[in-house]
């Protein structure tokens, strides 16, 4: 019988994919959210982590931004 899992499909570039995988590895075992890693630019994760991933990526982006002190 065909099995269907509900979740979120993520499509991104390779560096971002690695970042998400790293995020997954640093999270305790009960919170791991990646269900399947499909290939180097796609993966399938649990449905409720969408917002968390977005905010983590935004934080990562801001950490790497230099703002000239006024």
């Amino acid at each position: 019988m065909v099995n269907a899992i509900k979740g979120v499909f993520i499509s991104c570039d390779i560096p971002m994919a690695q970042y998400i995988i790293n995020m997954n590895a640093s999270v305790p075992a009960s919170d791991k959210f990646i269900i399947h890693i499909l290939d180097s630019t796609h993966m399938f994760v649990q449905p409720q982590v969408e917002q968390m991933i977005r905010s983590q990526i935004a934080k990562f982006r801001e950490d790497n931004t230099y703002v000239k002190p006024n």
Binding site: M1, V2, A4, G7, F9, S11, H36, F44, R54, R61
Partner: protein, 451 residues
């Protein structure tokens, strides 16, 4: 990525969406027929003129023979447009072939127009009565000023010193999709509102007029009469004075609103009062792609991301504030810089990079307008890069399928998903696939039918 939700459709799309009886009434007016004729694609114009004096239905196959084989798509586009506007009446003859005939009301009006020439129902007034007639430049400046005042008031009534006479209920109609109001907070621009501000004047004008016409039905005014009056107005001569008494009562009530928008200028002499159509009015029947009415640009963008706007208008200052950091405001110059923060702000408000870039290009100062490219490439590229940086990850709600019993079932499910445009990813070796949530029900039905 937010989509452009504001589409400025021109009059013709509005006309096309009217019911058949109203359309026939509209076609009794020769000017409307002329305006519609002008708006048709070139093949459409040719077909109308060729069928103008033919009273019997013409077979569709005959029309197709007029076109070379590689022009077939243009032919189809023209025919669809003509049928949509009900200029062409489709019928089926005895041999069950499709035939076309010109709409009889349209045909009669256009024939009359060709034979007698178009005469407006009113003549310009003699110059001895119309003193103080503004010259064309003053008229254009007036129209621009009224339009800007209206736009400023649309965005925020606190920015305007002299509010126009447009009733607040009408303003609310215009603001309906552009502003969002939460109680106790000041109204804030919505995504559509931002995109609206960055559009060209013509496109903005049509959006407002379209809202005005759609709202007219609610106010008890007949949309067909309104459209016919506006199209008639667009055939008047700019700068000529026309007596207000030549308007019907209905038209007189409309003309006041149009004066507030800047489409006409009202003036009063000793005994008579008259209205003068401005460029904005005659632009009503012009197609969206026609860029002959380009007003002078005012923005210079330099390679160091600084923006210099030679303008005194508050509206321009507000628009620039949308996506750049305005640093100084001098008597005739606004100085600002495009920074990452200001752009991120704009992107969060729903403006796309393309809109910002096309705004800068369209409003380029004449000094830099001749340079190619008008806006330096490093600036445009960086704006696009910053936008794509915000969208590095794409997330879609989906279902993951595995453990298919056989390859045929897998292929069939893939095809079903592909038909509904929902197949996101598949692996034929392992027989797994990912399908969008919206399409999941269809695939599930297919799988159930396979058992």
């Amino acid at each position: 990525m937010p989509e452009v939700r504001i589409i400025a459709k021109n009059f013709m799309d509005m006309v096309a969406s009217m019911p058949a009886m109203k359309l026939d009434k509209l076609y009794e007016n020769g000017f409307i027929c002329e305006a519609i004729l002008r708006s048709l694609p070139p093949l459409g114009k040719k077909y109308v003129l060729q069928l103008l004096h033919i009273d019997v239905p013409v077979a569709a196959k005959l029309l197709e023979e007029w076109v070379l084989p590689d022009g077939y798509t243009k032919h189809r586009v023209a025919i669809d447009r003509l049928v949509q506007l009900r200029v062409f009446v489709e019928a089926v003859d005895r041999k069950n072939d499709k035939t076309y005939k010109l709409n009889p009301t349209f045909q009669k009006s256009l024939q009359q127009l060709l034979v007698h020439g178009g005469t407006l129902p009113r003549e310009p007034m003699p110059s001895n009565i119309t003193v103080r007639l503004p010259n064309l430049e003053d008229l254009e400046a007036y129209a621009l000023q009224q339009w800007e005042c209206f736009l400023l008031q649309l965005i925020s009534s606190s920015l305007v010193e002299k509010p126009s006479n447009i009733s607040s209920s009408l303003m609310k109609v215009f603001q309906r999709r552009l502003l969002s109001q939460r109680d106790k907070e000041a109204p804030k621009l919505t995504e559509s509102g931002f995109q609206f501000l960055l559009m060209e004047t013509n496109a903005q004008l049509w959006y407002i007029i379209r809202e005005y016409i759609s709202n007219s039905e609610e106010r008890g005014v007949d949309a067909a009469d309104l459209i016919s009056f506006m199209l008639e107005l667009s055939f008047h001569v700019i700068g000529e004075a026309y007596n207000i008494n030549s308007l019907t009562d209905f038209q007189r009530s409309i003309i006041r609103d149009l004066a507030d928008l800047g489409l006409v200028k009202l003036q009063q002499g000793r005994k008579e009062s008259w209205f003068i159509p401005t460029k904005l009015a005659t632009n009503l029947s012009v197609s969206l792609a026609d860029s002959s009415s380009r007003k002078e640009g005012f923005v210079v963008v330099e390679t160091n991301f600084r923006v210099y706007a030679y303008s005194t208008s508050r509206l321009h200052c507000e628009i620039l504030r949308l996506f750049s950091k305005v640093e100084y405001q001098l008597p005739n110059l606004i100085v600002g810089a495009i920074t990452k923060e200001s752009l991120y702000n704009a992107f969060e408000n729903g403006i796309t990079a393309e809109q910002i870039i096309s705004f800068l290009q369209q409003n380029a100062h004449p000094r830099v307008a001749d340079r190619t490219p008008t806006v330096p490439e490093n600036v445009t590229d960086q704006i696009r890069l910053w936008e794509s940086d915000l969208n590095r990850v794409e997330m879609t709600e989906a279902y993951y399928y595995d453990e298919f019993p056989s390859r045929d079932v897998f292929e069939g499910a893939c095809d079903t998903a592909r038909e509904w445009n929902g197949l996101l990813w598949e692996d034929s070796k392992k027989m797994h696939m990912v399908v969008k949530t919206g399409v999941h029900t269809y695939v599930r039905e297919y799988l159930r039918s396979q058992k």
